[in-house]
Each structure stands twice: as C-alpha cells, then as structure tokens.
C-alpha cells in the first residue's frame, strides 16, 4: 500500500508537468493545426525566467514571471517565424518550430551554460507524509497550479466569447475569419496561452528538483505523448494522459529496467501512434480535421 501511494505521489507532479506541456501542444494545434516542436524549450524559457526573477522576487512572483516570459517567447515565435510562413504548408510551419526550438535552447545555453539551477520553494518545510508516501510541499504547488490552469482554460474555452472564438477557429478557420474573428489575434492568444501554461508549471517544478537547459527535449516528447492521449483536442484527457505517462515512467524506473525507463516511455509514443492514434478519445483528430 505504501509503495502504491509513493508511486502515486511521485507520478502526480511529474504527470502534471507532462500534462501541462501536452496542453500547450493542444492549444496551438486546435487553433492552427500545427505541432509546435518548440514547446519543451519554451517551457524551459519559463523555468529560467523564474530562476532569474527569483533573485529579486519571492518564489510565487518568480513563477509568474516565468509564465509571462514563456508566453512572450511563444508569441514572438509566432510573429517572427510562423506568421511569415502562413501561406506555406503545415509541414514548413512545423519544421520552422524545430528551428526555433534549437535556437532558443542554444541561446539559453550561451547565457546559462549546461549546469543545474534552482530557487527557493513557495512554502518552506519538510516533505509531507500522506498515507505512507511522501511528497514535497513544492510538488503540491505544482499540482495545484496545474489544476488551476486547467480550470482557467476550461472556463476560458467554454464560457468566454474569446475562448469560443478560438474554438471556432479550431473547427473552421476560414468560416471563423468570415464572421469577423481576427485570426492573427486568435493565434496570438493561443500561442501566449500555450507558452504560459507550459512555462508556469515547469517554473513551479524548479524548487522541488532543479532545471537544466537540455530538459526541454525529453519534456517536449513526453508532453507530446500526453497530447496524443488527449486526442490532440481534449485538455482534461491530456492531463490524465500526462499522469499515465508519469506512472509508466515511475514503474519502469523502479522495475528491473531502470536504465531503460526513458526508452520505454519514448517507445510508447511510437506504439501509441501506430495502435491508438486517437489516444483516450474515441475519434481520430486526423479524421475530424
């Protein structure tokens, strides 16, 4: 029972991060139909934004700065790299996000090097014991922030006019344009939200372990698996997907395959794409269009 609880408590914050990155993919994909390969690196921008801000701000303020910096970089990427290519096909737009990801990662590396960075947690104190398992106080914050982001996004997409306009773009961009929805404004909002969600959750995670420049790549792949599980459409199921990946990863790490844990997780991506591209949803997004 204790090990099960510990497994759950270990997987919960990790799953929140994978889920949040998955949500970042989904928001952009719903609006533009493209996959943003730079999601992992933009999340890392958020984490480093928080690291820098933590020198002058309390942790909660630093995390907020992290969210904003990731959102800003995401929007900059849209205007500098993707908007100029709007007349090209999706393939070209996808390739360009890969280029942006590399540029962002190496620019950060030139400034910060490859070492680990950390800052103080929001609430100090020892780890908390729940039903035989332990969890860091900061990890609880990671989960809380993720859930808050989910509630905010759900409210935004289902209850506000802007959110509904964004969903309309997802269904039919052309028709959305005709009824007077400004596609550039919508894309800006989508990229800002996408960057901010990824940035805030990864920034919140930094105090409970640490962050390095190279973290973005693996996080991006795991977030992508979460997005597949969410059918590249459903934000709630994407978070559930993130948690499932974390469970698989934690199980693999404590089993006999310790050194193969990442291999198993990434193989899952290929297996899912082949066997169940619709993830936890019922219908394939590729057919839904």
């Amino acid at each position: 029972m204790e090990t099960v609880m510990q497994l759950f408590l270990t997987a919960l914050p990790a799953g929140a991060i994978y889920g949040a990155l998955g949500v970042a993919y989904v928001i952009v994909h719903r609006m533009t139909g493209m996959v943003n390969f730079a999601v992992g690196d933009i999340a890392v921008v958020g984490a480093f934004g928080a690291v820098v801000a933590s020198a002058v701000l309390p942790p909660i303020g630093a995390i907020l700065v992290g969210a904003i910096s990731a959102g800003v970089v995401s929007v900059l990427m849209y205007f500098l790299a993707i908007h100029p290519l709007r007349k090209q096909g999706l393939m070209v737009q996808t390739i360009v996000t890969l280029g942006v990801g590399i540029a962002v990662r190496s620019a950060l590396q030139l400034v910060f090097g490859t070492g680990p960075y950390q800052f103080a947690p929001i609430t100090a104190g020892p780890a908390i014991e729940i039903a035989g398992g332990v969890i860091y106080r900061q990890s609880i914050w990671v989960v809380v922030i993720t859930v808050a982001a989910y509630i905010g996004l759900a409210y935004f997409f289902n209850r506000t006019l802007t959110g509904k306009a964004l969903s309309a773009c997802a269904v039919n961009r052309y028709a959305a344009g005709i009824v007077g929805i400004n596609l550039v404004v919508m894309a800006t909002i989508a990229f800002a939200l996408s960057g901010a969600v990824a940035g805030v959750v990864l920034a919140a995670q930094v105090p409970s372990s640490f962050i390095t420049i190279g973290a973005g790549f693996a996080l991006g792949l795991k977030g992508f698996i979460a997005a597949i599980l969410g059918g590249f459409h459903n934000i709630g199921l994407t978070l559930v997907g993130g948690f499932l990946i974390a469970i698989v990863e934690t199980l693999a790490a404590v089993s006999v395959f310790t050194e193969h844990a990442p291999t198993i997780v990434f193989s899952l991506l290929i297996v899912l794409l082949i066997l169940r591209p619709q993830g936890l949803t019922r219908k394939l997004v590729a057919e839904r269009v």
Binding site: M34, V35, F37, L80, A81, P84, L85, Q88, G89, L90, M91, V92, T94, I95, V96, L98, G99, V100, G101, I102, A103, V104, R105, S106, A107, Q109, L110, F217, L221, F224, E259, H260, P262, T263, F266, S267, L269, I270, L273, I274, L275, P277, L284, A286
Partner: protein, 633 residues
C-alpha cells in the same frame, strides 16, 4: 527521356571530377570531402521523403545508426564480410521502415515527424544503454570494406567511393523524379484526394519512398562505420537528424541537387564558425553557437527562400530561359475562336446525334449500379436511399438544388466517402466502401467540384498523373530506367498528347496548371480523367468557369464520349447544357431521387419544376426579373 550520347555526359563528368579531386586533394581535404559525401547521402534520403513526397521525417538518425551499428556488430561479432554486412543492415533498415511507415502514414504529417523523432531518440537510447553495443564507449576495430581484394583504408579511396555512391543515388533520384513513381509522389504532395482519384495508392507510395530513404541512410551509416572503424552513439542522435534537415532546407527540397549543395554549404559554414566564433564568444561557446546559428538558419531560410540555395539557382536559370523565349513567336492560340458556331446547344446536339456512329444510347451494358445509397453526417442525411444505373454509351445528368446531395453521391460512387448504407457495383463487381484508388482500378475516373490540381506541376505532367494506371513501372524501374520503363514513358506521353489535343489544351502543356483560369483548370481535370481510359467518367460541375463556346465544345465532347461507349455521369446547374448533353436526367431533392427520365420528361414534370426548375424550361428567359432589393427603398 531519350537515350542519346548526351545522356552519358552528366555521369561521365561526375566520375571524372570525383576521380580528379580524389587524386589532387590532400589527405585532410579528401577525408573531409568523404564525410561531406555521407551527409549528402543522408540529405538525399531526406529529400526523397520530405521533398518528393512532402512527408516530414526525422528517422534519418535511426536508419543511419542501423547501418553503422549493423555493419559494426555483424563484422566484429560474426565475422561477416563487410559488403554482406552493409546489405544486411540495409535490409534491417528497410524492414523497420516498412513496419513503421504503413501505420504512421495513415496519420497527418506532423504525427510522422514526432513518431520518427521518437524513433531516432529510442535508437540512440538503446545503443547507449545496451551491453551488446558497449554503451557510450562504443565499438572499435571494425574491418574496412574490401572491394575486389583491395582494402579501402585511405581517405582518397573513401572520397572516391563515397562520391561515386552519391552520384549513383543522385542519378537515381533525378530519374525517379522524371518517372512514373516520382510523378505519383509529386501528385500526392500536391493534392492527395486527386492523386487517389487517379488510382495512386498513397499509403503504399509513401511507405516505399520512406523505405528507399531508409536504405540510403543505412548505407551511409555503413560507409561511416567501415571508414571511421569505430562507432559510438553520439553521431546517431537527434542532432544528426537536424543537421540533415538543415542540409535539405539549405540546399533546397525540390531537387536532389539540394542535398549536395546543402551538405557542402553546411560543412563550409560549420568550419567558418569554428574559426570565427572562439574569437567572439570564447572556445567553450562553439557547440552552442553552432547550434544557435543552425536553428536561426533553419528559420531564416524557410522564411526568405523556402526552396533553398538550389531553388534560388533554379530561379536564376529560369529567368535567363524566359529571357531567351521572349524572342520566340507566341504559341498558337486556342482553336475555340475559329470553331465557334453561332448555333444553340440543342441544335448542335441534333447535328451531332444524326451523324452518330458507334452504339446508340439505351443499348449499352450496365456499367455502374448503385443500390440504396445512404450517407449520414451525424444527424444530417445528405444522401437518402438513392439508386442509380449508368449504361455504357450514355450521358446521365444529376441535377437538383444546392444541398440535394449531388456531390456527396459522386463521392460515394468514387470511393472518396464510404456510404452509411447501400452498395455500389462497377462492371458487376462490388466496390462499396473501397478506397478511391481501388475504385479507380475498376475503371472509374472523376473530376472535382472545385478543381483539384497538383501544386507546382505543369499541365502535361498533371494530365500524365491520370495515366498512372496505364503504366506499371515501379519505384526501382523508375529510378534505374530500363528499356521497358523508357518505352512506357514514351507511350504515356503519346496518350497524354492525344487527349490534350482532343481537348484543345496542347498549347498549355508546359504551363503550371494552378496558374490557369478556372475554366482551363476544369478542362485539365477532364483531360486527366480521360487519359486513364475509364469505362465510367464522373464530372462534378464541369461547366463552372467555362464560357459559352467552351460549354458547347464540352457538350459535344460528352456526346462523342458517349458514342464511343463511355458511361458519363455529370452534375451540372446549367440547364441548357444538361438538357442538350444528357440522354437521361436524374433529379435529386433533399438527398432522395425525385425523378428519373429523358430531358423532355424532366422539363415537363410538375414536381421537378416545383423543386428546382421553377418555371418550365421553354419559358426560362435569360433576363431574370428582379424584385426591388431589400433595404433599397
């Protein structure tokens, strides 16, 4: 392609240059050149998948690694001869690409990108963590390749060997582009729906080019292993896949030459950075600095020049070619102006039908039969229990108000949509629910309501895609043109030309199809459908964008096609055209059949007049009386 002495000039020049450089360059330069050749080889593999077929794949790292580790493990552990190890590794890469390609190519493009990215990462993690590959320390002591008893160990030998292989692959890629398979891939890249309608098996074509690319990458990896004689995981990760992507983007995806240009340019760039950057940012910044420049380069090139250096060179060459052409006389204009006759369509038809030879309408055999076709989209029933029959030698028109389900019906017949209920038979064989490319195999050709042409393709090639099923040359025979393949291309060219002449499109043959007027585009679509020599032709609103004279010609064409024994189904709103071209008319309303009969029957049917025609056809004057516009008072 005609085989003349000119055909041999290019390859001979290539071979001579490679030999000359390998003999004159020193060991350092030839070693560098040999490694650039391997990158060019990988670039060629990427251009096949991403440039030719338009599918974004990052699997090159994994396939490159399969070649290298395959060669290493098979020669070290099992003592296999080098060449056998190269072939076995390539076979493994081919198998992996087949297993992975089929399911992944069902999905949209970027899922393939992520799936292949994961494949490369999984491969990298496996060779890093497995005992058999000796983890991060790698495997040493790989034997050099032995060719005719000579061990290849010197850098000038590597240079010679690698660039000759690049030459062979480059030549194959160039030939493939001009052949049947290359055309099919370009069509897929341009418009998948139209490509499938021409009988191209899209998933199979994509998987085969993916496999070709895997084999090329694997051979590149084997060359690396046998020349460096040591492999470790580092060169086979994502970084290499991205390097290769940059090579392809930098050089240009549209031509295989892009891989050669890109590989040389990237190497020059990297060497430049290694010299300049330490002075600016310190020696430790070289790795990150190179990556930064690589990333920015990728973005900037895609924005400034998406077709890369190769595309820029091509544009300059085209400019000069056009300058030359200005002095040549304009090509003869269309014949339509001379042929224009000041008679109505109905009269024209009478004249035509009086002179009709061949089978008479109503005597043909049943070609296509649909029974109880129903299509529901969620709660909407677009087509509701429609049955129809089309016989050879007749023109059947489907008419009905907008939203009556006409285009959906055509999509059900052609396999572009699976029916919810009901069945379709072509020539007595059931085609219900079969995908479009298989239905095309049953002799069905079609056009689309909005012209579906292929991006960046000239008219002759566009039409030639329609002849896909008239040929049989596969990927290998397209790449290494055999006598049979060349003969087939010539036969297809003749068939295409005959159809172009018949539709009076010959003067447009080398124009880019997508830049022409809507009317011309619709006629090109008809040409593309006809060149496949179908037994049944489906035309979805062929008159859109056609002028009066062109409509008359089209009407005559349909009558002629009928007389030749073809079964023609046409959807059209132009009633004069419908009534004069059709032998029978079927009226749809709210997804169901309202009436079937001869044009005369339909025009006098009260229910049809109510639902669609509005007034009896004879009273239908062109000048429509308009009421006062709303809000204009």
């Amino acid at each position: 392609m005609r085989v003349t002495w000119r055909t041999a000039v290019g390859p001979s020049l290539w071979i001579a240059t490679v030999i000359a450089v390998s003999q004159t360059a020193g060991p350092y330069l030839s070693g560098l050149g040999a490694s650039v050749a391997i990158l060019a080889l990988l670039g060629l593999g990427m251009i096949l998948v991403t440039g030719y077929a338009g599918q974004f794949s990052l699997a090159v790292g994994a396939f490159y690694g399969i070649g290298a580790y395959g060669s290493a493990l098979l020669t070290i552990n099992f003592g296999w001869p080098g060449l056998l190890a190269v072939a076995a590794s390539a076979a493994i890469a081919a198998t992996v690409s087949q297993v992975l390609g089929r399911p992944l190519f069902r999905l949209r493009g970027h899922f393939l990108a992520m799936g292949t990215l994961a494949l490369t990462e999984v491969f990298y993690l496996l060779v890093t963590n497995l005992k058999i590959t000796n983890g991060a320390s790698g495997l040493g002591g790989i034997a050099p390749l032995n060719l005719f008893g000579i061990d290849l160990i010197r850098t000038d030998q590597f240079f010679l060997q690698n660039w000759l292989i690049v030459g062979v692959v480059l030549w194959g890629c160039l030939r493939l582009r001009a052949g049947r398979e290359g055309r099919a891939l370009k069509a897929i890249r341009g418009n998948e729906v139209a490509a499938a309608a021409a009988g191209i098996n899209i998933a199979s074509s994509k998987t085969r080019i993916f496999t070709a690319s895997a084999i090329i990458s694997s051979i590149g990896g084997s060359l690396y292993a046998h020349q460096v004689m040591y492999v470790n995981p580092e060169p086979f990760g994502i970084a290499t896949a991205i390097d290769v992507l940059v090579i392809a983007v930098l050089g240009g995806m549209r031509s295989p030459w892009g891989a050669i240009v890109g590989a040389i340019a990237l190497e020059a760039l990297n060497k430049g950075i290694e010299v300049l950057l330490p002075g600016v940012l310190g020696a430790g910044a070289v790795g990150a600095g190179q990556a930064l420049i690589l990333g920015i380069l990728l973005v900037v090139i895609l924005i400034v020049r998406p077709d890369g250096i190769g595309g820029a060179i091509g544009a300059v060459a085209n400019y000069f070619r056009r300058q030359q052409r200005v002095n040549e006389p304009e090509p003869a204009a269309s014949r339509t102006s001379e042929k224009e006759q000041p008679v109505g369509m109905a009269a024209l038809r009478l004249v035509h039908d009086e002179n009709r030879t061949g089978i008479a309408p109503g005597q043909g055999q049943l070609v296509l039969e649909a029974i109880g076709l129903t299509k529901r989209f969620g709660g909407v029933t677009a087509v509701d229990d429609v049955s129809l029959q089309i016989f050879s030698g007749e023109v059947l028109a489907i008419i009905g108000p907008n939203g009556a389900g006409k285009s959906t019906l055509v999509n059900l017949l052609s396999g572009n949509l699976p029916p919810t209920e009901g069945s379709v038979f072509i020539g007595g064989e059931a085609t219900t629910g079969k995908p479009a490319y298989l239905v095309a195999n049953h002799g069905l050709s079609r056009t689309f309501q909005t012209a579906a042409l292929f991006a960046e393709m000239d008219v002759a090639s566009t039409v030639k895609v329609g002849a896909h099923l008239r040929g049989s040359v596969g990927m290998l025979r397209s790449a290494l043109p055999t006598v049979g393949a060349l003969r087939e291309e010539r036969r297809l060219d003749a068939e295409v030309w005959a159809v172009l002449e018949r539709l009076d499109l010959g003067h447009l043959a080398d124009r880019e199809a997508n830049t022409l007027s809507l009317g011309q585009q619709k006629q090109i679509e008809i040409a593309r459908a006809l060149v496949g020599r179908p037994s049944i032709l489906l035309l979805d609103e062929p008159c859109a964008g056609l002028n009066k004279a062109e409509k008359k010609n089209l009407m005559l064409l349909l009558r002629q096609l009928g007389a030749e024994g073809l079964a023609v189904l046409v959807i059209e709103h132009d009633m004069e055209f419908v009534m004069s071209s059709a032998d029978r008319v079927q009226v749809l309303n709210f997804g169901a059949t309202l009436r079937v009969g001869t044009p005369a029957d339909i025009q006098s049917d009260p229910s049809v007049i109510d639902a669609y025609l509005g007034v009896a056809h004879e009273e239908c004057v062109p000048a429509v009386v308009l009421g006062p516009e709303k809000g204009s008072q």
